[in-house]
């Protein structure tokens, strides 16, 4: 009989975690970027590894390149500021983006911390040139419970098609 409550707890965590992922995608795609930033802890890690070979992404951000690596939220805040600044040709006009997240699995989990693995696809419609670009890969999230709300402590984005279109930013990943 003990297995049942564990499974139920896992389902509950998975549901809460999945909702977080979907909410994050909604905020990115609707340009509600202040709310998007609020999902992250100030001391969060945000990491998009680069690739070393056909099947090996970089694994040590201190000695190897990443596409993006931040050890706090400040770097993401810079990017949001830039996208809104009107001073960036790449973000004027902004693309329309569309994320779909699926295959969500719960990794290590406890009452106040959980890991989630998921698959993502993002399309960005480049409004100026009227073309669509697609990006896809896997996410790993680590969520922690703070003051009754789940927040993102770590997000790792593995971009699989890394011969990229020329303009890729936080909203397209």
């Amino acid at each position: 009989m003990t297995a049942v409550p564990v499974v139920a707890a896992a389902r509950e965590l998975l549901a809460a975690g999945s909702e977080m992922l979907y909410r994050e995608a909604l905020y990115l795609d609707t340009q509600r970027w202040d709310e998007w930033l609020e999902l992250f802890l100030p001391e969060c890690e945000y990491w998009v590894p680069a690739w070393k070979s056909e099947h090996q992404p970089t694994s040590n951000p201190k000695r190897e390149l990443s596409l993006i690596y931040y050890s706090t939220r400040g770097g993401l805040e810079d990017r949001v500021w830039r996208a809104r600044s009107g001073k960036s040709a790449a973000a004027s006009p902004l693309p329309r983006t569309h994320h779909v997240i699926g295959n969500v699995l719960l990794g290590e989990a406890g009452p106040e911390r959980m890991q989630l693995m998921s698959a993502w696809t993002a399309h960005q419609y480049r409004t100026k040139i009227r073309e669509t670009e697609s990006l896809y890969g896997r996410y790993e999230h680590e969520l922690v419970l703070r003051e009754g709300a789940w927040r993102i402590a770590k997000k790792k984005i593995l971009l699989l098609n890394d011969t990229m279109p020329a303009m890729v930013d936080f909203y397209s990943l």
Binding site: W51, R63, E64, W81, A90, S92, T163, A166
Partner: protein, 467 residues
């Protein structure tokens, strides 16, 4: 297309205050095909670093113009560069970006080559009833005609007419040395790289690397973010190069052009402590001397015509351009770092690189967005001539200025001054070399009656145009 059709595309009369290029060089597919043959498949092009294949049987793949190539180190440690195509039916025999392979066996019919390019097995040859002539023929991979190294930098040329690699690099060598000598063991690629494709002509990137004029209008978001970090408005603590420092009194910026189309821009660094190299400055000065250490801390963007750029400002970037079509270019980008760099400096270098240079960074996408805007603008057929090559023309000096002379380089032209000059004569050398190579290509074709045109008639055409 005739030789006159390309000759008219570059107006090169700086003594009269004139220099311009015709927009067809960015938009005409015939021009692009000729560029591939007469430039990318004739002159020296950059391939990579010898340290990308450090051990026997290591290899990496790349391109010379439109040709797939493999650079491979043989059993004795000698590097070779071969066309990456099986002699049998043409399939590529090296399939990954890099690796280690004593033998490359073609996936299709199993012909095998060793790491020195020698064909060592033709599958089931004995039972194959081949004619005697087949047995006598050479079945080895085709070595590229010219393959050379300068201090760990590898170049290849498909053309017999190119000068020696030393001569081709010429007076840029003291500036290449400023990169290679940043540690006593040279520089290395930081693991991990990225590539991106932009919808624009390759020469847009060729220009951009040495374009000081675009900085304040194309990158104000980056510049403002660096200001916000310094003032504390941003909570991101990364120490990056502040381009506003160029405005400080007494800060000199300049540009050089070199024979064979190479060009560079430089600027004294007002706050060298943000450069990762500065963390070991005492040792650096002891090893290379004060003057060269100061040059290493200056920002320097160097383009070697036609396909490689070393950009040292925020961190140190290596960019390799691969034109895909008249309006499509692939960029392969790497972070370069001194071998043996301390952990803290290396991490700082990597973060600066990602911040500025990555295609997911805060500066490069603004450049590529502008290239795409240019390529769209070139559709305007009634607009033929660019107005972007006359700025700085009255300040141009033939030969070296005092700064180049101090370093021991003798550029073809020099220009230096304060922040606002933002010279555009630095582009002249590239287009001069562009035209020289295109004309030489026409002359070669004329000599051998290329593309069905009778050799004699084409030769006459070339002669007339040259006169």
């Amino acid at each position: 297309m005739h030789i006159q059709d390309v000759t008219r595309l570059v107006v090169d009369r700086p003594d009269e205050g004139l220099f311009s290029v015709h927009r067809d060089i960015f938009r005409d597919e015939q021009v692009f095909d000729l560029e591939m043959r007469h430039i990318f498949e004739s002159t020296w092009v950059f391939l990579g670093l010898a340290s990308q294949a450090p051990l026997p049987h290591d290899f990496f793949t790349g391109w010379v113009g439109r040709q797939p190539v493999v650079v491979s180190r043989d059993a004795t440690g000698k590097l070779g560069c071969f066309i990456n195509s099986c002699r049998h039916r043409g399939a590529v025999i090296a399939h990954t970006r890099a690796g280690n392979a004593r033998y490359h066996v073609c996936h299709y019919h199993g012909w095998a080559y060793d790491s020195g390019g020698r064909c060592i097995d033709i599958k089931d040859q004995q039972a194959g009833c081949y004619p005697p002539g087949f047995d006598k023929a050479d079945h080895n991979l085709i070595a590229v005609p010219r393959f050379g190294e300068y201090r760990g930098l590898l170049f290849a040329s498909l053309g017999a007419g190119a000068p020696s690699l030393q001569e081709y690099l010429g007076e840029t060598r003291p500036f290449l040395d400023l990169i290679v000598d940043q540690s006593e063991h040279g520089v290395e690629l930081v693991p991990g790289s990225s590539s991106y494709i932009y919808r624009g002509n390759w020469k847009l990137q060729l220009e951009n690397c040495v374009d000081l004029y675009h900085l304040t209008s194309a990158h104000p978001s980056f510049m403002k973010i660096v200001e916000r970090r310094k003032s504390g408005e941003s909570r991101h603590g990364l120490k990056a190069l502040d381009f506003n420092d160029y405005r400080l009194p007494g800060v000199v910026r300049g540009s050089y052009t070199f024979k064979h189309g190479h060009a560079m821009v430089w600027g004294a660094t007002a706050a060298p402590e943000v450069r990762p190299l500065y963390s070991d400055i005492d040792n650096l000065r002891r090893r290379v001397g004060d003057l060269r250490a100061q040059w290493m801390l200056a920002t320097r963007n160097l383009t070697l015509f036609p396909n490689v750029q070393f950009a040292e400002n925020a961190s140190l970037q290596l960019r390799v351009m691969r034109p895909l079509a008249v309006d499509r270019t692939e960029m392969q980008i790497y972070c370069l770092a001194p071998v043996g760099e301390a952990d803290a400096a290396r991490e700082h270098r990597i973060r600066q690189y990602e911040d500025f240079f990555n295609s997911t960074g805060l500066a490069t996408p603004d450049d590529t967005a502008s290239y795409e805007d240019c390529q769209t603008g070139y559709r305007a057929r009634h607009l033929d001539w660019q107005q972007g090559y006359q700025r700085g023309i009255t300040a141009l000096v033939q030969g070296p200025d005092k700064y180049a002379a101090e370093l021991g380089s003798c550029p073809a032209t020099s220009l230096s001054g304060h922040y606002d000059i933002q010279d555009e004569t630095v582009f002249h050398a590239g287009y001069r070399e562009w035209l020289r190579l295109m004309q030489a290509g026409f002359a070669r074709d004329a000599g051998r009656g290329h593309e069905g045109r009778p050799g004699r008639e084409a030769a006459v055409t070339a002669k007339t145009a040259a006169a």
